[in-house]
């Protein structure tokens, strides 16, 4: 709205100004939303509130009165809000508007939200930004379906401060009995949701009774007026007292700094803090807090700050991870239960797959089960097997990847999620419970750093640490090449270590079979071991079929900039003709199943650093090529001078 808000000179200025509000000092800001059934008078109340608090721009009221006269219709307070042409034509509010005004004790940001069921997504968009709500009920019509639905949604949006306003009291002759009847009904409904109203106020928004003044018509009422009720609202809940939660938005490498960026959702963080990166459970210390134009920043960073930090060690972390302190960890899980509201035309059913966003994390998810689905507008709640549009329910979700999450009761910021369908937000809700993952809670894990610096080793080995990841069909020549490369690097004084997929399956990975999940885990362990070696200055040569694109992408993420992928792209015919282990023959005979060489399950890399065909090249030629690639990428070097200068 182009309502410039304005002086505090107003009708209710005669009341005492609270002592903490010295002239010129900022009032606490509260964001409030007015909700309720369509036509119960939300926009009228907003218009009246603006008038009563002296917040209207000069001439606005007169202009709208003139427009009304020109159109031959009586002036309504709601016209102030129905600023869009289309709305005036239709006579209903279709979206949220934000209006600011001041009461004696509060800076109020007022969000008007549409009551029409058609526009529930707009009501939610508006109400989700509020610290408190005013639920409006028409005294003549009483509690209606949308009144109940909005009450329920306030609860699901986490809004616990609710003032109820019973409007149009003039239509029921300012009847105390009617007031009590409605008050009892709505209080019972809200109590059932765990919400107790701060006040139930009888008003006539059109005439002004109960809005800023207690008029004789409602002489039987002893509670606060609407303006007084607004003065008593508590500002947004402080998240500083809760444990640290810093969801990672991105990792920036604009220069030689590797800055982890995100917003502190709760708690606080400072330089030197030991932090745990969830869901992986990796531990590091905060080396610096980066800023601009001044950097580094020494002050602790509290809840609400958008920050950038560097860590004391090179760890793989990515958008979606959550940084916490080891004393109060966020949980890692692939299963969670949530109470959601649903806005999409297609109902949610068990078995549906969708995209879940929680903080900065996103994951594919499958609905395992649905419970307690209800239409919150109806009085009787009949449970069904699906959650329809504008309904609510509890869903049990299975996530495609582990995520870090809290329950809503533990942390409102990291305990709520939204659901996307076809790239559009389709619902949202609160996390009720989290099934902690099988992974042990790594409270006692403190990695010990090597006594040697990486450059000490590289000076001796004349190479940097690296992971050479050889992927390709069975019998494509990976192990042969790995062995040749190992010999070559060792001969020049290096420290190569071969990790053969089959060899590791005999020990470290002896517990794993060949299911898709086990194969992924096999690759993950290979990547973790290899990147540990590489970070300590060795060249880890991994020879593994690693057929899946996603698994190799994960390996690349783990080893990060140390990763060098070599696609051994020997043709399938050549591989099958070689068949040194007899696997192709057995697979063709039906003796082994799910063999990558014959089932077409190999997904060739699209971004390998090097592609080699051992069908057309000798082992020595192929090894030469890898060596050349490593030299070009700065892994191998001849000159010691530069490095020696740094030691």
């Amino acid at each position: 709205m182009n309502i410039q808000l304005a002086s505090s000179a107003s009708a209710h200025d005669l009341r005492a100004v609270p002592p903490e509000l010295v002239q010129g000092q900022a009032r606490p800001q509260v964001r409030i939303v007015i909700v309720g059934h369509v036509d119960h008078g939300k926009s009228t109340l907003v218009g009246r509130l603006l008038h009563e608090t002296g917040s209207l721009p000069d001439g606005k009221l007169e202009m709208l009165k003139a427009v009304s006269a020109r159109r031959g219709m009586p002036f309504e307070w709601s016209f102030l809000l129905d600023a869009l042409q289309t709305e005036r034509d239709q006579g209903i509010t279709i979206d949220t508007t934000q209006i600011r005004f001041r009461t004696n004790a509060r800076e109020v940001v007022l969000i008007d939200a549409p009551g029409h069921a058609e526009f529930l997504r707009n009501m939610i968009t508006g109400a989700s930004q509020a610290d408190a709500a005013v639920l409006i009920i028409d005294a003549a019509e009483g509690v209606r379906d949308q009144t109940r639905r909005h009450g329920y949604l306030l609860h699901l949006l986490g809004i616990r401060q609710v003032a109820v306003v019973i409007n149009k009291m003039d239509r029921v002759g300012f009847s105390h009995a009617r007031y009590r009847e409605i008050s009892d009904e709505i209080c019972a409904h809200l109590d059932g949701l765990g919400v107790s109203p701060t006040a139930v106020i009888p008003i006539s928004a059109r005439d002004g009774d109960g809005v800023a003044a207690r008029t004789p018509q409602i002489g039987w009422y002893v509670g606060p007026t609407v303006v007084e009720a607004l003065d008593q609202l508590a500002p947004a809940r402080q998240m500083d007292e809760l444990p640290l939660r810093l969801p990672v938005q991105a990792v920036y490498k604009f220069d030689d700094r590797r800055i982890v960026a995100g917003r502190v959702e709760s708690g606080a963080l400072k330089v030197g803090d030991e932090i745990v990166i969830m869901p992986a459970g990796k531990i590091a210390r905060v080396k610096t807090v980066e800023g601009w134009p001044v950097t580094p920043v020494s002050a602790p960073q509290g809840a609400g700050r958008s920050v950038g930090i560097t860590l004391d060690r090179e760890l793989f972390l990515e958008r979606g991870d959550v940084i916490a302190h080891s004393s109060a960890l966020v949980r890692d899980t692939r299963r969670l239960k949530a109470r959601i509201f649903w806005l999409h035309d297609t109902p949610v059913t068990a078995g549906a797959t969708m995209l879940v966003r929680l903080g900065t994390m996103e994951s594919r998810a499958t609905v395992v089960a649905i419970e307690n689905a209800v239409d919150p507008g109806e009085l009787s709640s009949v449970g069904t097997r699906s959650i329809g549009r504008n309904h609510v329910g509890e869903i049990d979700l299975s996530l495609a990847q582990p995520i870090a999450a809290d329950t809503y009761s533990d942390n409102p910021r990291t305990g709520r999620l939204v659901i996307e369908v076809n790239g559009r937000i389709a619902g949202g809700g609160l996390v009720l419970s989290v099934d902690a993952g099988a992974r042990g809670v790594p409270v006692d894990i403190v990695p010990v750093e090597s006594a040697l610096r990486p450059d000490e080793r590289s000076a001796r080995f004349r190479h940097k640490g690296a992971v050479i990841w050889l992927t390709g069909l069975p019998a494509s020549g990976k192990s042969t090449l790995a062995r040749a490369l190992e010999r070559r690097l060792f001969s020049r004084g290096g420290s190569p270590i071969m990790l053969d997929g089959d060899t590791l399956r005999a020990g470290l990975n002896g517990d794993l079979g060949f299911s898709a999940e086990d194969r992924s885990e096999n690759i993950r362990r290979l990547a973790e071991v290899a990147s540990h070696l590489a970070r300590n200055g060795h060249v880890a040569i991994v020879a593994a079929v690693s057929p899946g694109f996603a698994d190799r992408a994960q390996a690349r993420r783990i080893a990060d900039e140390l990763f060098h992928e070599v696609h051994v792209a020997t043709s399938a015919e050549v591989c099958e003709a070689r068949d040194p282990k007899g696997h192709y023959r057995k697979a063709r005979a039906g003796q082994i199943h799910g063999f990558t060489g014959t089932d077409g399950g190999y997904q060739p890399p699209t971004n390998a650093e090097l592609v080699l065909d051992t069908g057309t090249k000798s082992v020595a030629e192929a090894t030469d090529e890898i060596e050349r690639m490593l030299a070009q990428r700065g892994v191998l070097f001849e000159e010691l001078a530069d490095l020696a200068a740094n030691i």
Binding site: L84, I94, I124, T125, Q249, R263, R305, L343, G423
Partner: protein
């Protein structure tokens, strides 16, 4: 955290979300006070650099002071600037009133620039308190393939979760300072010492509150010759910010019609 800290942190969060989730971003730089604050916020978000182009859709009719400002700060701020021209007035919907028609050139220029660069996200410095239709905006606001805005079919947006998947051929507008007010912009400009175009400050009893094309933008009566005085003036005034922008006042729905067809 004070009020300005909160606004800043929220805007930085939005800018980083846009950078993380969209492939080809540009920031619309109108040279005015709002978009200068936005560039400042982007430099805070990304530690000194703006990692996407700043696009100035140039009507060719801005004040000379605005062009001087642009040329100076492109260099000082290290911006990757794209200056895009607008088509001649004849190419614009002749049923619009004169000032709106003039402003609509910018929409056409914007559409041409979008087609030329293939941006999937445009960061724009509009604010809810400026104008009634802007109050209806989302932070991430999908636009149709023609750049149009369907105010009736906006997806829900809550808990800082944004709809960042525009359909093929369409783009998203991202509004990092949607929640700021005019007074917030000035208070922050003062606190951070952000450079401004001198036209905003009073000269001979008049100053510009909002800057657009030189032929359809008019100064307001004001004695405010410092930012502190502007802030004091805003405390008192009940005149809307865009009162000096002719295109807002020609007919009741001129601005809305412009926005539905893709105006900022």
């Amino acid at each position: 955290m004070d009020h300005l800290d909160q606004l800043e942190a929220q805007s930085i969060y939005i800018l980083r979300e846009a950078f993380a989730r969209l492939k080809k971003l540009a920031l619309l730089w109108s040279l005015g006070k709002d978009s200068n604050v936005m560039i400042w916020l982007a430099r805070k978000a990304f530690f000194g650099r703006v990692p996407f182009p700043a696009m100035h859709v140039d009507t060719g009719k801005k004040f000379p002071e605005m062009y001087a400002f642009r040329d100076q700060y492109v260099k000082e701020w290290g911006l990757d600037v794209r200056i895009e021209p607008c088509p001649p007035i004849d190419a614009v919907d002749p049923t619009l009133p004169p000032a709106a028609r003039s402003a609509a050139r910018k929409t056409e220029g914007l559409k041409l620039a979008l087609a030329k660069h293939g941006f999937d996200g445009l960061i724009a410095g509009i604010r809810r308190d400026e104008e009634a239709t802007r109050a209806k905006e989302r932070v991430f606001s999908p636009r149709g393939t023609e750049g149009g805005w369907d105010v009736r079919d906006q997806p829900p947006e809550f808990w800082d979760q944004f709809n960042a998947s525009p359909p093929p051929g369409a783009h998203l507008r991202v509004h990092p300072i949607l929640h700021w007010t005019e007074a917030d912009i000035w208070a922050y400009t003062q606190r951070e010492n952000i450079p401004i175009i001198p036209l905003y400050l009073s000269k001979n009893g008049k100053r510009y509150r909002s800057l657009g094309d030189a032929d359809i933008t008019f100064p307001v009566a004001s004695a405010a010759s410092t930012i502190a005085e502007i802030l004091h003036e805003l405390e008192q005034t009940k005149v809307p910010e865009r009162a000096g922008r002719a295109l807002d006042h020609e007919t009741e729905d001129a601005f809305e019609r412009l926005r539905v067809s893709g105006y900022l």
